[in-house]
Symmetry: C2
Subunit: 127 residues, 2 copies
Amino acid sequence: MHLKVIGKVVNGVTESPHDWADVRSRIVIRPSYIDGLYRLSRFRHVWIIFGFHRQRDTVLRVHPRRDPRMPLFGVFATQSPTRPNKIGLTLVELLRIRRNVLTVKGLDAFDGSPVYDIKPSEDEIDF
Amino acid sequence: MHLKVIGKVVNGVTESPHDWADVRSRIVIRPSYIDGLYRLSRFRHVWIIFGFHRQRDTVLRVHPRRDPRMPLFGVFATQSPTRPNKIGLTLVELLRIRRNVLTVKGLDAFDGSPVYDIKPSEDEIDF
C-alpha cells in the first residue's frame, strides 16, 4: 500500500534530545484534509502515525534503546525504527488546534517527518 | 511511502460481527520476518497496524459507527476506515505465538487483511 502524506512535523529537532517527553511540535496538516480535523479538539490525547524518514536500514533483532547491555529482542517487540515499515506510533498530548495546525507534546519525531494518520485515544472515545 | 506486507490475517470473518472483542484471529507472518518476533511473547497486549483492504472511499466527515443519529466528526477524530490512508490500529490480546503464527483476540480486521507492523503495548514495556 502506498501511504499519502497528510501533514508534516515542524519542531526544529534534528538530533535526538535527552527526553522526547517535553518536546513540543507543530503538525501542519495539508489544507485538503482540514475537514478531517473537525471536533478532534475534544480529545486531550491522540495517536500520531508518522514516518521515520531518516531511517534506511531494517534490523530484525535489536538491543532496546540501542544499549548493547540490553538483551536482543525482535524488532516487533520494541519501538526501534529499524522495522520493515518505517512507521512510528506515538500517543501525544494535544495542546491546541488552530485551523490546520496541531500543537502536540511528546512526539518523538524529527523535524520534517511525514505524518500519515491521526487517531483518537481509545480511552477518551465516548461515542 | 510504500508499505510492505509483513503478514496476513486469517480468521474467516467476511462480514462485521456484532462485537469484534471476542473474535480470535491468526496472524501469519511471512517467514522472512520471523526474527522480528523474538521475545514478543513476553507481551500480553500488542498493537497491530493493518490495512482496511476492502475500503476504497475517503470521507473526511463521518457519523461515528455509521450511525446517522450521531453528530458528524472529522475522520481523524474517529476510527472510521474512510481515512486518507486505509490503516487500522488495534490493541489486541496476544494469546499465543507458534513459530510465525500469532493468535490474537479482539482484532477488528476481515479475513485476508494485510498486516504492516506489530508494536508492543507501551504499558508493558519494562526496558
